[in-house]
């Protein structure tokens, strides 16, 4: 595959060992690359980046250490907001000091995707013999930390489908677009995906704020929209197909169990300020009041908040036994980390409807004890899950971003789509809808016909990842 290679260098007075020691220190004044946050330089270790490409603020991204030769060379894989390989060479100069060279390579497909997301390239069309399948997700912005594993999971599913003969005798081609965790950007990206000649469907793994702006486009253009994350939105059209967990299912199974574990009755509701966290708050209040508990307070802050002190102080002042924490992506990571530093973790228990393996990887020890109920956790004990994880590791290597519930949901949705198209006899909407009513895909999740979720797993965050502690049946849809 062709790739773009960029090189850049500076000469610095510091010697290589001095510079090497600065890498990953988290000091933004050292530039976004050397000033990134890296806890370790071991292969597979997470590197957090804050790129200066937002309006006034920074765009958060992630990379992973591929290899490291102390003092002389660091190799990274960028995961978001774009995918590529970065090699940093630290060459000692005879005169003292260092020549720091970086070599960046980005493959042509990712280059085209990025160009399209920047608004500059029209994106590639699929070849005539391929079935284009769109994926709209967040590769930048607050939810961008989940983006790379989501794209990987979609790509893995597509490759497996193609190895198995494709759909309707044709290979499937994945087309990816980034909503930047922003509804306005999402609309432009969605229009572009829907404009791809012959697009069969769009899989969406992004916020419900983007969904409410993009779903009318899918309906107007007659394109099936397969929405995968946990969501409060009730689909209003046959072409809007939802796979994610419903908040009321998550909460009404899990909150009574958490109250039973603590013996407490007071709850604080906190989250980002948009439709989904508000819906979680309303559903939680209903469940809490039904079981005789009380809501001691509520606090919602905008997406992209940097300082959570006011919410955390409010939680401390109100006095509570539990927190329902509905933050998203980077905000979720930052809130839980500050909450843990405040010492409140030892006196309160948290239920967080988006806590999954990716969030726990970012949080480490400070997540310990958080509960959630989702259709999938990496620690799920089943033959299908072991097979899925083996395939993911074989395909993307040791240094790939770990799978999470959000990403795995996309893997299942793509397979469910292909299974339904095969069963229904084509990729056109009537065949797909017919196929969804009659076919079942058996992946790691416990799903019935058309990908409807039959049970949730109750998970608890531990320093070693999310531990599955129970399996809860989902109520039949009303």
């Amino acid at each position: 595959m062709a790739e773009l290679v960029l090189s850049s260098e500076v000469r610095l007075a510091a010697d290589p060992s001095e510079l090497f020691a600065l890498f990953g220190s988290g000091d933004p004044s050292l530039g976004w690359l050397f000033g990134s946050e890296a806890e370790a330089l071991a292969p597979g270790a997470l590197v957090r980046l804050a790129l200066p490409i937002g309006e006034g603020s920074r765009v958060h991204g992630t990379a992973r250490v591929l290899s490291c030769k102390p003092v002389r060379r660091i190799d990274l894989v960028h995961e978001s907001p774009w995918f590529g390989h970065v090699a940093c060479h630290l060459d000692p100069l005879r005169s003292g000091g260092t020549r720091l060279r970086i070599r960046v390579s980005i493959d042509d497909r990712e280059f085209t995707r990025l160009g399209a997301d920047l608004g500059l390239l029209c994106g590639s069309d699929a070849e005539g013999w391929e079935v284009p399948l769109g994926l709209l997700t967040s590769l930048s912005g607050s939810a961008g930390i989940l983006g790379r594993s989501t794209v990987n999971c979609a790509q893995l599913a597509v490759e497996e489908i193609n190895a198995d003969g494709g759909v309707a005798g044709r290979d499937v081609r994945l087309m990816v677009a980034d909503d930047a965790t922003d509804p306005g950007t999402g609309v432009v990206a969605m229009r572009r995906l829907c404009g791809v000649s012959g697009i069969a469907a769009v899989v969406g793994m992004h916020s419900s704020a983007t969904y409410s702006a993009t779903s009318p486009i899918a309906v107007a253009l007659g394109i099936p929209y397969l929405y995968t994350p946990t969501s409060e939105v009730v689909p209003t059209h046959p072409l809007l197909i939802h796979f994610g967990e419903r908040p009321l299912d998550q909460l009404h199974r899990a909150l009574p169990l958490l109250a039973e574990a603590t013996g407490g009755s007071r709850w604080f509701l906190a989250g980002n300020d948009y439709s989904w966290p508000r819906a979680i708050g309303m559903a939680a209040r209903e469940v809490i009041e039904r079981m005789g508990g009380t809501v001691s307070g509520e606090g919602y802050v905008p997406l992209g908040t940097e300082d959570f002190t006011p919410v955390i102080s409010a939680i401390g002042e109100h006095g509570t036994d539990h927190v329902v924490s509905s933050f998203v992506g980077q905000d979720h990571v930052r809130f839980e980390s500050e909450f843990s530093s405040s010492g409140l973790r030892s006196t309160t228990r948290t239920f967080a409807p988006l806590m999954d393996d990716a969030v726990v990887e970012h949080l480490g020890d400070s997540a310990a004890g958080i509960w959630n109920a989702l259709g999938y956790f990496v620690g799920m004990d089943s033959a299908e899950n072991r097979e899925f994880l083996r395939r993911y590791a074989d395909r993307f290597g040791e240094c790939a971003p770990p799978v999470s519930a959000a990403a795995e949901g996309v893997y299942e949705a793509v397979h469910t789509w292909a299974t339904a198209c095969r069963s229904g006899g084509g990729t056109d909407p009537p065949s797909l809808l017919r196929g969804l009513r009659t076919s079942t895909y058996r992946g790691p999740r416990r799903c019935g016909r058309g990908g409807s979720l039959e049970s949730l797993l109750l998970g608890e965050a531990t320093p070693a990842g999310v531990q599955v502690i129970d399996e809860l049946p989902v109520a039949a849809p009303a």
Binding site: V10, P52, G184
Partner: protein, 122 residues
């Protein structure tokens, strides 16, 4: 390859609204200010005009006058712009590192560290 330190390209593309405007123009081929403003909630004509001016000065779009209307379209070398954008993001990081190191060792090897190129050619 395009000049890797194109600051104008970088700051033009660093804004989400401007990227969305480029996307819209790319989608339709050619649009007027009014047509662009009508497709954005909460972004007025004046704001759109100033975004268009920045995009035009960065060489990302061209303007065609037709009577009272100005029509905007993408320039013919968008791939070069993507390259310039990416190159400047990485270059920017190294320059900041050089600046920080210079401050730390103020006076030492000052002529040697962090050569800058503030050229505006796209």
């Amino acid at each position: 390859m395009t000049d890797p330190t194109s600051d104008a390209t970088f700051s033009a593309l660093a804004d989400q609204t401007r990227r969305a405007i480029l996307g819209l123009i790319g989608e339709h081929g050619e649009l007027t200010v009014g047509e662009i403003a009508s497709r954005f909630d909460g972004v007025g004509r004046t704001a759109v005009s100033s975004h268009l001016r920045i995009l035009r000065l960065a060489g990302l779009i061209t303007e065609r006058r037709d009577g009272r209307y100005r029509h905007y379209s993408l320039t013919s070398t968008p791939a070069d712009t993507v390259v310039a954008f990416l190159a400047s993001v990485y270059q920017n990081s190294l320059e900041q590192l050089a600046d920080a190191m210079n401050e730390a060792v103020a006076g030492a090897a000052s002529g040697d560290a962090g050569q800058r190129d503030d050229g505006l050619s796209a």
